[in-house]
């Protein structure tokens, strides 16, 4: 029974990671369980300068999910390298550092510094607005998406994973652009843009008005995105969006994901990722399948 898998060049001991922004770097979660058992840890987005985040409230519960408007709060590149990276380097699991930026230069600067510091894999968060084109996300324009991936790829040795937004008409077009830019893999999906309004106060429930919808509510959208990309672009996929159990993870793997990440479910059940790892192992045993990679993309379309 073999749970090991890979995302392009990146080898993973098992296919279950934790998603950016839902696990910090693991310092707190380590008080609850042994995080070295994870397939990998994806950090909260790191930007060049420290960012303080959005005004509260930043969290709002929604049916089978939640909205958040954290706003890429992080300590910035310099402090990340000094204060966070040493902890991650000591872990017996893969670290993927998530990088965000408003300009091409910001992406490249942060990615290069992390690469030089020995980070082996980077996830580019292409879902923040690009200041060059007001309001539009990097991953809403295939040309810009390809451009930022290419610029980073050219300057780093690390494995580069492009994280795409589902807030587009055709996600395969963006995935293809990321591949053309040289991405080693794509992460699907980031949160869906959503909103909630309180009828009592007659105001938006989030301080930033709108936010990202995550959790089991978005799982069907995420599975569909993985399915579409897997069937039209040859690139390894890291699947996420509402995964809370091994059954959920299997949906993504069968749709074509080589690995998966647990996001908001960490807030409800901090050991969700461990349970998924165990559940996947049990499934392989029960179905007498040798390795998890034999299942990737195994779902057959109906005639």
């Amino acid at each position: 029974m073999d749970l090991s898998t890979s995302l392009g060049r990146l080898k993973l001991k098992n296919p279950v990671l934790v998603a950016s922004g839902t696990f910090g770097i693991g310092e707190e979660m380590r008080r609850i369980f042994n995080i070295d058992l994870l397939g990998g840890i994806i950090t909260k987005s790191v930007t060049l300068k420290a960012r303080f985040g959005n005004p509260p409230p930043r969290i709002c519960e929604t049916p089978s999910g939640m909205l958040n408007s954290i706003g890429l709060e992080n300590v910035g590149l310099e402090r990340f390298l000094k204060e966070k990276l040493p902890f991650l380097k000591k872990r017996k699991t893969v670290t993927i550092v998530n990088v965000a930026g408003h300009t091409l230069d910001e992406f490249v600067t942060v990615a290069r510094a992390l690469d030089r510091a020995g980070v082996r894999a980077l996830e580019l968060n292409l879902s923040c607005p690009n200041v060059g084109r007001e309001g539009l996300e990097w991953s809403q324009d295939p040309r810009r998406a390809a451009e930022v991936v290419r610029a980073v790829k050219r300057r780093v040795r690390a494995c580069v994973i492009a994280k795409l937004s589902p807030n587009v008409t055709d996600i395969t077009e963006i995935a293809r652009a990321a591949k053309d830019g040289g991405a080693d893999a794509v992460s699907l999906i980031n949160s869906l843009i959503g909103m909630a309004i309180d009828p009592v106060t007659r105001a938006p429930r989030l301080g930033a008005q709108t936010g990202g919808l995550t959790g089991p509510a978005i799982r069907p959208v995420a599975v569909r995105c993985v399915w579409e990309v897997a069937r039209s672009v040859r690139i390894p996929i890291l699947g996420m969006g509402g995964i809370a159990s091994a059954e959920d993870a299997l949906e993504f793997i069968l749709a074509g994901a080589s690995a998966v990440a647990i996001g908001s479910a960490n807030f409800v059940n901090p050991k969700a990722a461990l349970e998924v790892i165990q559940g996947l192992g049990n499934y392989l045993k029960r179905c007498q399948i040798r390795g998890i990679s034999d299942l990737v993309g195994g779902a057959q379309p109906h005639a």
Binding site: T22, I32, F52, P56, I59, P216, F267, K271
Partner: protein, 269 residues
């Protein structure tokens, strides 16, 4: 310190007053030591709706059990109120940094608004244990109406002087608890005072208008919407008046107790 995540059995779930309940949970043997003012996250259902766990302060505990006192205010607390002894809930805790136990006071003033009283009892008990006989203990308690009166007897038994206000005048003085605060500080010689408070936001805002006039700060237990409860989602930020750098602090990890003077109250208006 480790944090325990476990499914635990409900020992009892007793109605205390209108919309108020006291839930007793079996305390797992491996549950870490609890400090006054810490809280737990309760996962109410096995499924995913309601999605997020609910943060609730620990009211009292022994080696074998731990209690929370809660008010039914929405869907999650309504679900909780219908749980029977023998059922299970998910517990994550203990979480946060509690109240400082300051031993050099002449008078300890506890200010509670509604169910806010639930986060104060452990600190009261601990302080009384350590300084009883050497200091005066006063509880100022404000609530909507007499039907919601609860927990005050526990404070009386600790030796607290009780002053109660109700919005509708059905018990004690008519008006808000902050009226009692003003009266106390204006009329009495209290010596060195420590104030511990928890209540709704309007109560906190009113305190910021009263206590500084008497040169008095306070320790407040704040609430903010939470997802993880441990410091990883960055969802429970509260704005402080910290000068340079990040003004936000996390209520779940760096709180829920903050000094009144640390908070940027303009951001809360």
């Amino acid at each position: 310190m480790p944090i325990l995540q476990n499914s635990v059995r409900i020992v009892s779930n007793r109605r205390l007053a209108q919309d108020h309940y006291r839930l007793r949970l079996e305390r797992p043997r491996s549950f870490p030591e609890i400090e006054a003012g810490q809280f737990v996250q309760l996962r109410l259902e096995e499924g995913w709706d309601p999605f997020l766990p609910r943060p609730l302060c620990l009211y009292e505990h022994s080696r074998l059990w731990m209690d929370v006192v809660y008010q039914v205010v929405g869907r999650g607390t309504a679900i909780l109120s219908k749980k029977k002894a023998g059922a299970s809930v998910g517990v994550l805790g203990p979480l946060g940094l509690g109240f400082p136990i300051l031993l050099d006071g002449d008078t300890y003033v506890f200010v509670a608004g509604g169910v806010g009283i639930a986060s104060l009892y452990l600190a009261a008990k601990e302080l009384v244990r350590q300084v009883k006989g050497r200091a005066r203990f006063i509880l100022l308690f404000g609530l909507k109406s007499v039907g919601m009166l609860h927990c005050h007897q526990d404070f009386r038994e600790l030796g607290f002087e009780l002053r109660i206000a109700t919005d509708d005048g059905s018990y004690g003085k008519k008006g808000y608890v902050t009226g009692l605060v003003e009266q106390l500080f204006e009329k009495e010689q209290l010596g060195r005072v420590w104030v511990y408070a928890c209540g709704p936001r309007p109560m906190f805002l009113a305190l910021t208008g009263i206590l500084p006039r008497f040169g008095q700060d306070a320790y407040l237990s704040l609430d903010e919407h939470m997802a993880c409860g441990v410091g990883v989602c960055l969802g429970c930020a509260v704005k402080t008046v910290r000068g340079n750098g990040d003004p936000y602090r996390l209520v779940c990890k760096e709180g829920p107790v903050f000094k009144m003077s640390e908070i940027d109250w303009e951001s809360k208006k």
